[in-house]
């Protein structure tokens, strides 16, 4: 956006239709406020008569009432149930169409639809909300094509606030009431008409079209005074200095239990929130599973399914966990993830909470101003409060069809698929990265790469649900579609010149195998290499022949142990930590890499720490939490991180107490 050059003009109320005409002449459909279902909603407008003239709104926690304003202004309200994300990040977006035919599986991304829209009556807080979502939807490795296209195709006509609702607190969040950046045109409504100024080249073009008389000084002053008055009425209900730090340090505050008693976990707050962007992907198919479609729809961290992960475990089972995730995300971890607050102070979540929970009140109790924050549970990361500027470019997702070569049945429920491809991007995968594997009619699970070959990739998959079961059931010469590779892999180089410790539990060995390959390919670069492998039973051991071969080598050690076994098993029985909890090697010379069940990793991490392995040299992978793989769905948040975007590989130093913390 550029600073306005054209003089502010004045548009008489009676001639407001000229703005409609100008916007329509610009080939745009107009979305703006109108009365429906006893509320002021944003919907398509064809005529200024549809504006909520003479109406205003009274809000309170859990209440919203449309009432006459007593004057015939059209924008005499604060914000309503609709937010602009309905048009920039719609509730339902088709993602892919997949087909299985003679040639194999083919997945096509659905082209983004981007109608030319003009948003009329966007408030200062809503402008900031749009900017915040722009950053959130572009924070992943690709960015979201649909959202970007819709934003690029939209023109924003802002409206300075003339009134504040009881639930407004933009002054505290620093997003209003005065319109700052992000608009193309900015209007201020006075009794007899509108002061109009351009805030971008596109805005200037429209303003030029209108050919307005310049606004008189008293008119521009009246407009400014109006905004100042709104600011005065609001005050500063939620002091935000140091709020992110205070909140981050209050994860165990007793108030979380109190609010959970009232909270319905109905998700209304997140759905009316103009910045909340979380989604879930659903699949549909024909009766034969030959053609399938995927689409994403608004979801919420308040729904139980949102925290469900493979094996029906759930990392946010309690309502308390979900409320804490929402509030801490909005006001604290959002800074770490996107470099700004996630709240703009519009107050929608307060008015539209069916039981009137007021976040302002909760914040003041949980993270009261002026109180020194306790120790931080994790270091600030990765944006650390720096909003990206300019926004990163957006790339379309690539769906690559690959063919199954060998199928190795590793255990009763686990197979390794050897996939052939000449796709350079896939072949460029790094150890510890993962791909999204798609078959028509099935959910799309993230699968870690278990071997990177010059001519393809191996995926080792455990059947833990219908989608993975379908993958495990694939035969040689079948095809599937891959996206990726995604994620930050193992920092192999970081271990150069040092001892290497590898701890694997069950299927966790799969993402570690490419690391082992990399180390062995350049063995002299590393010191002693020690592998500690755990499995549930002898029958659950992965890559048995290969591991036995490694065990036969003089230049590395492999010890393994199983949880339980019958008499036929002559190896060790117990837990993986028993393999090294009495070891005498010097952990300070070692870099450790771990993957396995989280409890196993916690126990192993404790033992490694005792042996002197530093937290910043202890690397774990948390891939089990991922859903979309590209940092847009919000499912895999752990404290300040998106696992798919910032990980899946993390050091314990990065994770801090987020590692293994229940309910986070």
């Amino acid at each position: 956006m550029t600073s306005p050059r054209a003089q502010p003009g004045f548009l008489p109320r009676a001639e407001f239709g000229r703005l409609f005409a100008a916007l329509e002449a610009d080939g745009r459909r107009i979305i703006g406020p109108t009365v429906a279902e006893e509320a002021i909603v944003y919907d398509e407008l064809h005529d200024p008569a549809q504006l909520p003239v003479g109406m205003t709104v009274e809000t309170a926690p859990g209440a919203y009432r449309l009432v006459p304003s007593g004057r015939d202004r059209a924008f005499d309200y604060a914000v309503g149930p609709t937010s602009w994300k309905r048009f920039t990040h719609p509730p339902l977006v088709p993602l892919t169409v997949s087909r299985r035919d003679g040639a194999g599986v083919d997945v096509q991304a659905t082209a983004p639809s981007a109608p030319r829209l003009a948003f009329l009556g966007v408030r200062a807080c809503e402008l900031q909300a749009l900017a915040i979502q722009d950053r959130a939807m572009r924070a992943g490795p690709l960015g979201d094509v649909d959202h970007a296209a819709r934003r690029d195709a939209s023109l924003v006509v802002a409206m300075e606030c003339a009134v504040a609702a009881e639930t407004c607190f933009c002054t505290s969040m620093g997003t209003g009431p005065e319109v700052a950046s992000g608009a193309d045109l900015v209007l201020s409504e006075l009794d007899d008409g509108f002061v109009v100024r351009a805030a971008s080249h596109a805005g200037e073009a429209i303003l030029g079209q209108l050919g307005l008389a310049p606004a008189a000084a008293e008119q521009t002053n009246a407009a400014a005074e109006q905004a100042r008055e709104v600011r005065r009425t609001m005050g500063d209900p939620v002091p935000t200095v140091g709020l992110p730090e205070r909140l981050r340090a209050s994860l165990d505050h007793p108030r979380w239990d109190v609010v959970a008693e009232r909270c319905l976990a109905c998700a209304n707050c997140t759905l009316v929130c103009p910045t909340c962007f979380c989604t879930s992907v659903s699949v549909a198919s024909d009766l034969d599973g030959v053609t399938g479609t995927t689409e994403r729809s608004w979801d919420s961290c308040f729904s139980l399914g949102f925290g469900r992960v493979a094996g029906d475990a759930n990392f946010r089972p309690k309502v308390k966990d979900r409320y804490r995730q929402w509030l801490t995300h909005k006001f604290s971890t959002w800074w770490d993830q996107f470099g700004s607050s996630g709240c703009v102070g519009c107050g929608r979540c307060i008015a539209w909470c069916p039981v009137g929970i007021d976040i302002r009140e909760e914040l003041l109790v949980i993270a009261p101003p002026g109180v020194e924050p306790g120790p931080a549970p994790w270091p600030a990361a990765p944006m650390g409060g720096r909003a990206p500027d300019p926004l990163p470019a957006v790339l379309p997702a690539r769906h690559v069809t690959v063919r199954v070569g060998d199928v190795v049945h590793e255990t009763a429920d686990t197979v390794s698929l050897s996939l052939a491809t000449d796709d350079r991007t896939l072949l460029g995968a790094q150890p510890g990265q993962f791909v999204m594997a798609e078959l028509p009619a099935f959910a799309i699970p993230p699968i870690s790469i278990s071997r990177i070959r010059p001519d393809g990739l191996d995926l080792t998959i455990r059947s833990a649900g219908a989608a993975t079961a379908a993958l495990v059931a694939l035969h040689a010469r079948d095809t599937l579609s891959l996206r990726g590779p995604y994620g930050r892999g193992w920092p192999v180089g970081e271990a150069a010149g040092r001892d290497v410790v590898i701890v694997a539990g069950g299927i966790g060995l799969a993402p570690l195998r490419p690391l082992v390959d990399a180390v062995l390919a350049d063995r002299p670069r590393f010191g002693a290499v020690r592998m500690f492998l755990g499995a549930r039973t002898p029958r659950d051991r992965l890559f048995v022949a290969e591991m036995n071969a490694l065990a036969g080598r003089a230049d590395l050690e492999v010890s393994e142990i199983v949880d339980r076994a019958g008499p036929e098993w002559l190896g060790r029985v117990g837990v993986v930590t028993q393999l090294f909890d009495r070891a005498t090697w010097d952990g300070s010379r070692a870099t450790a890499f771990m993957c396995g069940p989280e409890r196993m990793m916690q126990a192993a991490a404790a033992v490694l720490a005792r042996n002197g392995v530093a937290p910043d040299r202890t690397w774990v992978t948390l891939e089990r939490n991922m859903a979309c793989g590209v940092g847009t769905c919000g499912h895999c948040q752990v404290g300040p991180f998106f696992v798919c975007r910032d990980g899946p590989v993390f050091s314990l130093a990065e994770l801090g107490s987020a590692f293994g913390r229940e309910g986070l």
Binding site: G311, D312, A313, R572, G574, A583, W585
Partner: protein
Amino acid sequence: MPRDSRESATVGWLPSSMAPAVAARLVELGESRSFPAGTVVIREGGPCDSLGLITRGRIALRMQVPGGADRTLITADEGDLYGWSALLSDATATASGVAVVDTQALVFERGRLLDAMAADCALASAIQAWVLAAVARRLQATRLQLLDLYRSGLEP
């Protein structure tokens, strides 16, 4: 199947925290025995008449689980103690110990050990601390195994 970590083979079998005099006294009290693979060292429910420290090899501690199957709950490996029931008054073995490979152990005959402990408080407390540490480690392992059992109950 893979060999065990060579590191553990070089572990000083007695805890480094143990006073040299006490350690020396223990080595003198103990008697090095070898159990060929398959030897039943102690039998579940039978008398537990000696405490052992494995210096080489492996003893599988097994129990009859419902259904009559014989399951290995845990193995005692180089540096591990077994048969600590010998220090308890009823001295009954709670699991069977079977050498799954050729195994060497430093074995302390119950009567001798208890007499020596009765005679030497320093020795007694050192041994109790030693055994307690071993028990604590075993309980930790068992706890993790239990958690894993419950977790796997969730899985389809």
